[in-house]
């Protein structure tokens, strides 16, 4: 058994792309080895990556494929041999099978006697196969952004390939990728090891050998080292801890080959700047971890993850350099903060005319006026059922929501739009409700994010998003397939999530109507929101697709009601009675469909004397329908579903004993009318016929 190593040496790959590519390369190598019957069952595959390399080590590779034997069956014996002499047919078959005529055998099966041939194929060597097949796999890797680098543009890849290592144990597999012939020489850390090649003895010792060249090829190992180093560096500040940040951690793991950490400091006076600004500078611009005290408040330190290891003097130099950059950035932020205060948000509304919202629609001034109109409608729909809404605060927040786009701080830190506006509103004494609503206007930014905390923030968030969606749809910018350049799906997801997680008494229809969308546009926007609701239920709430279809069929407008019904249905479907009911409902629906196809009319169940079981079903259904309706109106869905399940004996007996499609037209009509009534009466919570039953 041999070990196979592949390492692709690259110029620095963008950090955000590395983990995905590492996994994909591992998959592709594994699939190739499996497809070519080169992998033993107990084989172990390990993937590695750094900014400058992607690697896979497969332990348990066959040096060559096993030989194979195949039985081919040809023409009938009689046709192939005439008195023992081979005919043209025998010769043709032998040629096709690649064996001499003398090797043909007689095989008998149920149909008679035929000519057979045993074809033996020698397995191909792993080296030969890998050299032929692996380059295609490597060049087939998906990258979000590719480049050409060689003249004539023979291939595209994320960054230029600079070396390739491919080894089967100690032997080089001479494959070629992007003009580079593989060898056994890797490269070490740019600075700590320098440009000298790193010769690998065997595939298996890859990770170990690379450590001597100051490269930690295992990303998990680097993560571990970084965490330990962060802990150690933070220990020098009493009572402090570093702030966890999963995304930042992944970034620095993929920016380093040999990570170490230094602790730096900044002047205490900068702590007067809002924490959001400080953290954004440290995390997004400088990729530093923030340091906080036990109460979670920032302390004037930061942690930088280096891609090198420096001596004590070097440590001082690197720390000084990083502190210098951070100080300049904080100083800038301080300057912008002070500068922006000179023009309060209330004086910035007019200058929104200079900021484009969308070239075919208008400026953010236009957008603000539109948002105000939508927010008024939403407030009107909300007010009767919501006593906590402060409408004037809402309208003030909507009016000022986009003004922070004209501030220097937002021009510098675009990712803080909204947040900065909220902070300025607070600093300028515009009222806490106004400030909080502005602050939260872009939340939730993703499905993992929280919704706005205040009613005004929720309404501002919905007004802003639905206005954007309706206006974009109206000028033909609806998303298509994978193309959604205006992130309208995310906007609609935000609306659904806010409705799902707030107490707002708004339906999707009310939201769309508030946007002012009319005619075909209204229908499109509504369908779009419903599609997003479907997505939310399935992908975010993880309801089964049949549950989602069942509850949406009974109403897709009131988001929280849909969720409550889905939750009740999930619980109810675990009972055997309920499953039987679902199956029966499906049967009823099928019967009604058939009846319609055949042109059978529905009649009244009261028009004839029904068979006993049919009458019992009608009675039971009539009795329960009333109770279920009351429970449904009270939104006591779990109880309502329990009650519906008690219909089972009557339904079972009905299908056992009664022939629904009775030859007598009147009886048949009455039966059809009965099951139609049952279906209608009990489908207000969900269309049970959608439920997949075992």
């Amino acid at each position: 058994m041999a070990d196979f190593l592949l390492e692709i040496g690259l110029e620095e790959v963008p950090a955000r792309m590395i983990a995905g590519a590492e996994a994909e390369l591992g998959r592709r190598v594994k699939d190739l080895l499996t497809r070519e019957r080169l992998l033993v069952p107990e084989a172990k595959l390990t993937t590695y990556s750094t900014p400058r390399r992607l690697a896979v080590l497969a332990e348990g590779v066959q040096p060559s494929q096993a030989d194979t034997e195949e039985q081919l069956t040809g023409p009938s014996w009689k046709v192939a041999f005439n008195d023992g002499a081979p005919t043209a047919a025998a010769e043709a078959f032998a040629k096709k099978a690649g064996v001499p005529v003398s090797a043909l055998q007689k095989v008998a099966n149920a149909k008679g006697e035929y000519v057979g041939a045993t074809v033996r194929r020698a397995g191909r060597a792993a080296t030969e196969l890998l050299a032929a097949e692996l380059p295609k796999e490597v060049l087939g890797l998906y990258w979000p952004k590719n480049m050409y680098w060689r003249a004539g543009k023979p291939e595209r890849f994320v960054r230029p390939v600079r070396w390739v290592v491919a080894m089967l144990d100690a032997a080089v597999v001479p494959l070629e990728i992007a003009g580079i012939v593989a060898g056994n020489a890797s490269r070490g850390h740019r600075v700590l090891h320098g440009p000298a090649p790193v010769t690998l003895d065997r595939a298996k010792s890859y990770a170990e050998t690379m450590l001597t060249a100051r490269v930690v090829v295992d990303a998990a190992e680097r993560r571990h080292r970084i965490r330990k180093a962060l802990d150690a560096a933070t220990r020098t500040v009493p009572g402090a801890r570093w702030r966890e940040d999963a995304l930042l951690m992944e970034t620095v793991v993929h920016l380093t080959e040999w990570p170490t950490v230094i602790l730096g400091s900044f002047e205490r006076e900068y702590l007067a700047l809002p924490e959001e600004v400080l953290v954004t500078v440290m995390r997004d611009h400088q990729k530093y971890f923030a340091v906080e005290d036990t109460e979670g408040k920032l302390v004037p330190h930061f942690l930088a993850v280096l891609n090198t290891e420096v001596d004590e003097e070097g440590c001082g130099i690197v720390r000084h350099g990083n502190e210098r950059v951070l100080r300049a950035r904080f100083k800038d932020a301080q300057f912008f903060w002070d500068f922006d205060q000179k023009t309060p948000l209330t004086e910035r509304v007019e200058s929104l005319k200079q900021v484009t919202f969308q070239k075919d629609l208008g400026s953010y001034h236009w957008k603000t006026q539109e948002n105000l109109r939508v927010a008024r409608e939403l407030a009107a729909a909300t007010k009767p059922a919501c006593t906590t809404l402060d409408e004037s605060a809402l309208l003030k927040a909507v009016e000022l929501a986009k003004t922070d786009l004209t501030t220097e701080l937002v021009k510098e830190f675009t990712e803080l739009q909204g947040v900065i506006g909220g902070l300025y509103a607070r600093a300028q004494g515009l009222g806490e409700r106004v400030a909080v609503a502005i602050y939260d206007q872009y939340t939730p930014a993703s499905m993992e994010d929280n919704s706005p905390v205040s009613v005004e923030g929720q309404l501002l968030g919905i007004a802003d998003r639905i206005q954007t969606i309706a206006a974009m749809f109206a000028i033909g910018n609806a998303p298509t397939g994978s193309k959604d350049p205006f992130a309208l799906r995310r906007a609609a997801n935000g609306i659904v999530k806010i409705l799902a997680e707030s107490e707002l008494p708004l339906t999707l229809v009310e939201v769309v109507e508030a946007s002012g969308a009319e005619g075909a546009n209204r229908e499109q926007v509504l369908a779009f929101l419903r599609e997003r609701l479907h997505f939310y239920l399935k992908e975010v709430r993880c309801f089964g697709y049949d549950v989602v279809n069942a509850v949406l069929a009974a109403g897709a407008d009131d988001v929280r009601d849909v969720i409550a019904r889905a939750e009740a249905l999930c619980k109810a479907r675990e009972s055997a009675d309920f499953e039987a009911i679902s199956a029966a409902f499906k049967r009823m629906k099928n019967i009604l469909r058939q009846a319609e196809e055949k042109g059978f009319a529905l009649g009244s169940p009261k028009s004839v004397k029904l068979a006993a079981e049919a009458q019992q079903l009608a009675d039971a259904a009539g009795l329960l329908a009333e109770e279920v309706t009351l429970l449904r109106q009270a939104r006591a869905y779990p109880r309502a579903l329990e009650v519906i399940a008690t219909l089972r004996p009557a339904v079972d007996a009905f299908f056992d004993k009664v022939m629904v499609l009775d030859p007598d037209e009147t009886v048949r009509g009455a039966h059809l009318g009965l099951i139609d009534e049952v279906l209608r009466g009990f489908s207000g919570i969900a269309d049970f016929s959608e439920i997949v039953t075992g």
Binding site: V310, N322, V325, S363
Partner: protein
Amino acid sequence: MKRELPLSSTLQTPVVPPTALTFQDLLFRLQGFWAERGCVLQQPFDVEVGAGTMAPETFLRVLGPKPYKVGYAQPSRRPADGRYGENPNRLFKHTQFQLILKPPPVNVQELYLQSLEAIGIDLSRHDLKFEEDNWEWPAGGAWGVGWQVMLDGLEITQFTYFQQCGGQDLDPICAELTYGLERIAAFLQDVDSIYDIVWARDPETGAPVTYGEVRLEEELQLSVYNFEVGDIAKLWEHFNLYEAEAKSLLERAHDLLTSEKTTAVEKKRFPLLAAYELALNCSHLFNILDARGAISVTERVGVIGRIRALVVGVAKAYALQQSS
């Protein structure tokens, strides 16, 4: 961004050790390093540009198959970035050292690291990272992929593999290295304000001449002009005149370069380079108008489109001219 504050930056000049590389030494070293590696050293281009990329030595030379290696310092004007000389980290006009390597040698990154050593950066005592940063100039129909090179958390160089220029695929591609000279000098001299950078030092007395002494007046006056004084109507008039001239050249270029009757000499003589300079003038005037707040929302996209039409038009015609 008008602000009424005293010009404070030169009040107390920090002491820069005499051994630290001056601003002009930094440029000399970079020029020397790349000249030794076969680059043509050009002088700064003398029409206003926002970046070294826009100078014809980059924008036009990267088109077509002919290999070329060139380096030059390029004062780069961005009117909206002006701060009246009051912000220690921002300039209306900063200096790039721009390098084009076409095609890029396989060891281009190693060469770049050597150039850092050449300006006195001991990499064993610094933290260096290549972080993804892709570059795009929509008005020039140009883009590339690459990195910002971070030294101890400071972006010191933009490293780009050009992929397209003037809306055309490049083959071969080229590597573009853009060193931010002010930043690197402030880093090497350990000063917090660009204006405190020692530009030159008297070899006899060691007396420094600072960046502020050389350039502060220009930053202030050009900020005043770009933000307050520039005559909007006249700026538009200039824009329209330059555009009209460039357009008429491009129209003639099209007829001439696609006609079978044109001789090789006639094609070669055609002044496309002049058309390019006219287009750059439009681009700079647009930037001033923008800083003046004179470009309305509805106009903006349209004006950028007009500049793009000129710039991309020149690139296309230039490629045609070169291949004929």
